[in-house]
């Protein structure tokens, strides 16, 4: 366990070094958040009764999305990992006394967390001072905070576990580049990154909510904004746990099989 912790620390600290990039990224995310809210405002004015959530909950969703972009965006791939598989350099990793799956999982967590830590605070602070209903609305009771934190953790683990599956698939296909693009864009839409899932029409929404990607950012951000509560909240949390376990199992199974093949073929 200790070796994974020190591995996490190295990656995390390294991630913290890209400060100018973070500053630049923050500016970008402010603009995107603001544009997103202006866009929904225009739709809200078109017909307020068609709006599936309160405007406060939507603004909260948008700002959380921007603040924690690094945690939940599927497209944060590390091309280094893909390259190490396609060039065969991955063989060096196998010489170490650690499990590849665990090591890369920890690495993915560390990279995402270090990026998020640098960017989230300024966005959260400024957006919480914006006038209602355009800013971040903070919930009153502590349980909501607690459940949000739990659900965010589950969602982050789920995304990293999904990334792992895609990394592992590079062992099986020659050109992972295009597939990566296809999967990314699909996962983005189904996860509520393009428009929040409540904006989808009835039947589509029911199906999308059953799929794994709805268990990432969609759940915690809506809990925090008060859009998800009661029995729906608990079933969403259960779905999160279920999909997380499923992804981890699939990913580590793929890893074991791929490594066995490498050992047999001798690289």
């Amino acid at each position: 366990m200790k070796k994974y912790w020190s591995f996490f620390r190295i990656r995390f600290i390294r991630g913290l070094q890209y400060r100018t990039a973070a500053l630049s990224g923050m500016v970008t995310q402010f603009v995107w958040g603001a544009m997103e809210i202006l866009l929904f405002k225009a739709f809200y004015e078109a017909s307020p009764e068609s709006f599936p959530m309160t405007f406060e909950a939507l603004s909260t969703y948008v700002w959380l999305q921007q603040a924690f972009l690094a945690l939940y965006m599927v497209w944060f791939w590390e091309s280094e990992l893909f390259n190490s598989i396609t060039t065969g350099d991955v063989a060096y990793e196998l010489c170490r006394p650690v499990r590849l799956y665990h090591m890369w999982f920890v690495r993915g967590l560390a990279v995402r967390l270090s990026k998020a830590v640098l960017r989230c605070m300024p966005i959260l602070i400024v957006s919480s001072f914006l006038p209602a209903p355009y800013g971040l609305t903070l919930p009153g009771d502590m349980t909501t905070w607690g459940i949000t934190l739990l659900s965010m953790t589950l969602g982050l683990l789920l995304i990293v576990a999904f990334n792992m599956i895609v990394y592992m698939s590079a062992f099986y296909t020659v050109s992972s580049q295009g597939m990566k693009l296809v999967i990314t864009s699909l996962a983005e839409f189904l996860g509520g990154a393009v428009i929040p899932i409540p904006f989808l029409p009835g039947q589509v929404r029911i199906i999308v909510e059953l799929l794994p990607f709805a268990s990432a950012q969609n759940v915690p951000f809506r809990i925090f904004g008060g859009d998800l509560a009661g029995p729906d909240l608990y079933s969403s949390l259960i779905k999160q746990v279920f999909w997380l376990l499923a992804f981890v199992l699939i990913g580590s199974f793929m890893e074991k099989r791929a490594l066995k093949r490498i050992v047999i073929q001798g690289g």
Binding site: S24, T28, W32, M35, A42, M179, T184, S185, E188, P201
Partner: protein, 261 residues
Amino acid sequence: MNLIRLYVNFFLMHLKSMMQHKVSFFMTLTGQFLISFNIFLGVYFMMTRFHQVKGFSYSEVLLCFSITLMAFTLAETIFRSLDTFETIIGNGEFDRILLRPINSLFLVLCSKIELTRFGRLLQAVVMLVYGVSSSSIVWTPLRCLLVVLMILGGICVFAAIYLIFACLCFFTLEGLEFMNVFTDGAREYGKYPIGIYGKNVLFICTYLVPFALFQYYPLLYLTGKSDNSWYLLLPLCCALFLIPAFLLWNLGLRHYQSTGS
């Protein structure tokens, strides 16, 4: 004339290189198609829920979206080398370009022609065709010409932004990610007529970065929401945005030649 022939030769070389990796090429093509298909789905679901936004109907929004997307995609295909200019400087390729007896900016453009973006272009064409045929606009030759001008104007604006980004690379390679606001951001939010984002955004996009000149104002004329015929000329004004970008390029080039970094 010679430069055109040379550009065609470079184009063929890129094509040949791509064909060496056919599977990867077609997968990337598909991926590009799907990524922007996401945005389309977002627009589709929003418009089916709300029917109109600030007086623009679904087919009018599609028209606007397709024009922006087409301008952006064509600009990205041609000017992608400027978007990745930091690597061209970093790996010494720019030094090699300066060793050629031809305009360096031209050779930079030749060094990368992003053919994988055709997937997205295809989608823009489909949407344009649908938007044109399903809207209630009466298509006079003038209006058709205006659509072409809007696309050309858009290419100019995006080209100028890419060029400015590349110029900044001459001075620093750090912290330039914020330029994405103007390229990816414009593609992302240019899907709707810029006017719907409110007065402030419209002001910025008129006087600071002229997105609205090729997109919003001409669209008002196109959809009959305004009959101010001055709006017809605005896409042409976008080309003026290239002038400061070129001046900046020359400044940057001189800086590069005196520092070599």
